[in-house]
């Protein structure tokens, strides 16, 4: 990979990290603009906030192979995927703040972040629910003779739900253009995956259905990039579905209020060492990129997200009447 490409991925990863850090601070009630002391403000982001801190390499590298018109489904941990697909961080932040100017007009929040204009069909509150949806979207593309593909992100825990098996089988039977991406952070809520998943996990399950897969170090953005390049090319060529199994780590707790204290501190320390941003920065330095250049990237990411926070804080609330809109259209009058 050339330096330019790696720098581009690094910029995106820093942007995701900055977004997650800012959202976390805002959920704790502080002002997230770096450098300012946290104030006693009420939480600006309410409710469950699932951060993808530590998992940035998978989102960035996979999505770097997607075109704007390609489609994407996500999990409850969808900020990274959404940003990587090209969504505007300010409109995302507005959604997290519950404002009318958010992507979902304040109706969905963090757990349902979506930007259909870039093909991001939605984060989901139900584990594994995105898998059949991605499969169906890919089916539609095939029926309609369109050239796009679908990327479907899901967690390691999701592989134990029926929709995983049903979706993969379906995609393989109809040779659908979908790349399944298991973002394996090795834990589901508070339960380690290896205690709950029989056999060799998702790759083996995909293999059993005749669906080729690759397993990669999900913290190594170059490795993910390379594996995804191969699989995406095969999917685009009409070879049918493929699966990427990217092993990474969830640096934060399951939700922002969860300190994640059920984890082995050594494991967390090792994960901090293997932080994908650290690895990428070290590689950039090795290849002659200056520390100053790296610092500039970090600063730029933070500045962009600080702006997103300002936009979100100033944004208007939805009208209460909006709660009754977009429920359904029957053509007849609506009686509440």
């Amino acid at each position: 990979m050339n330096n330019e490409r790696l720098l581009e991925l690094y910029r995106l990863m820093q942007r995701i990290r900055a977004f997650e850090d800012a959202a976390e601070t805002a959920s704790q009630g502080g002002v997230a603009a770096w450098g300012l002391a946290a104030s006693a403000k009420p939480a600006l982001v309410r409710g469950p906030l699932h951060l993808s801190t530590g998992q940035e390499a998978v989102a960035a590298a996979v999505c770097s192979h997607l075109e704007r018109r390609d489609l994407l489904t996500s999990t409850h941990r969808g900020h990274g995927h959404t940003l990587a697909k090209g969504a505007d961080p300010a409109r995302m932040m507005c959604e997290l703040f519950g404002r009318a100017t958010g992507y979902n007009q304040g109706k969905g929040g963090s757990m349902h972040i979506a930007d259909f204009s870039v093909g991001m069909l939605g984060a989901n509150g139900v584990v594994a629910a995105g898998i059949p949806i991605a499969t169906g979207a890919a089916h539609a593309l095939k029926v309609r003779g369109l050239p796009q593909i679908v990327a479907c992100f899901f967690g390691d825990g999701a592989a134990n739900r029926g929709p995983f098996l049903e979706g993969l089988n379906w995609a393989q039977v109809y040779r659908l253009p979908v790349l399944f991406v298991c973002e394996d952070n090795r834990i589901s809520a508070t339960t380690p995956t290896d205690a709950m998943t029989a056999g060799e996990g998702v790759s083996a399950r995909a293999r059993a259905l005749g669906l080729p897969s690759l397993k990669v170090d999900g913290n190594d953005v170059e490795a993910v990039h390379e594996a995804a390049a191969r699989l995406v090319a095969e999917v685009r060529a009409g070879s049918g579905p493929r699966l990427l199994h990217a092993v990474t780590y969830r640096i934060k707790g399951h939700v922002s209020v969860d300190p994640g204290s059920y984890r082995d501190p050594d494991e967390v320390a090792a994960a901090m060492e293997a932080d994908p941003l650290r690895l990428a920065a070290a590689r950039l330095l090795e290849r002659g990129v200056s520390q100053a250049e790296i610092d500039r990237i970090v600063e730029a990411a933070r500045a962009e997200i600080a702006h997103a926070l300002e936009v979100a804080e100033a944004a208007p609330w939805p009208e209460a009447g909006a709660a009754y809109e977009q429920v359904q259209n029957t053509g007849a009058g609506v009686w509440r």
Binding site: G108, G109, R161, G162, T191, M196, W317, P318, A322
Partner: protein
Amino acid sequence: MSMMTYAQAACAALAEAMRADPAVVALGEDLGRGGVFGQYRGLAEEFGAARVIDTPISEANIMGAAVGMALAGLRPVVEMRVIDFALCAIDEIVNQAAKNRFMFGGQGRVPLVARMPIGIWSASAAQHSQSLEAWFAHMPGLVVVTPATPQDNHGLLKTALACGDPVVYMEHKELWGAQGEVDAAQNIPLGQASVLTEGSDLTIVTWSRGVAACRQALALPVLGGIHAELIDLRTLWPWDRATVFRSAAKTGRLLVVHEAVQVAGFGAEVAASAAQETGCRIRRLGAPRIPVGYSQVLENESRLAPEKIAAEVQALLAQPR
């Protein structure tokens, strides 16, 4: 008597049942860590992983396996985390658990308790905040329980565990931290409402989180001097028709209040039955037929606000008896 939260009361009741009967087991995601809301705290330590079973994220199989366990001699408590995820196991609860006893001519019994927390959980949006009790009340074969206080959560969970048929047990997410005195010896039968206040002006029937909302409404100055009979149904199937009819006949006016969507809600069942039986004046209050929104502004539209309840009370009192 001891002070407990709603979550601690359920935990204590389950521990008591597990001590008394080795056939009682619990299964679900993250139970070993005490459950999402701490309602299983300490149970894995006391009873071990064989009886407090941590499961994969496999709702259909959790529920289906519980049916199998029940048929094979255990008394499983199934955790669905929130009722929204129980929809991933709807065949298992509706077509399997609920039908088994009847369909096989009484050969099988399915004594399981499926815990499905209901209700708005602030800022959790449309897939984590539903109150779907009417769906389950509609299903022959299921018992439906909706405790509102720590005492009731203790007593009703024990009764549910002793019931030989599948029980859908709905705790409310905003009640987990509610404190109250619990008398561990108190037995609360299924199908017995509790009359919380006696009154002659009107009858209010509610359950779950609706109880606290109605109490707040009745304390509002605009309702000063009004004597309402407040009834907590506690179980929706079987429901205490006698208590409701007696009260509605006495006051001549019935208001049914629930957090669930009003359209086709369980309030309709109570209202229609009471109208038929007593000819009383009736109003209902539930949520509008909208998904629960994330933003506070939108979420509020789905909430049972005391002011909305008070307005219904006034509207009902304005009608001639």
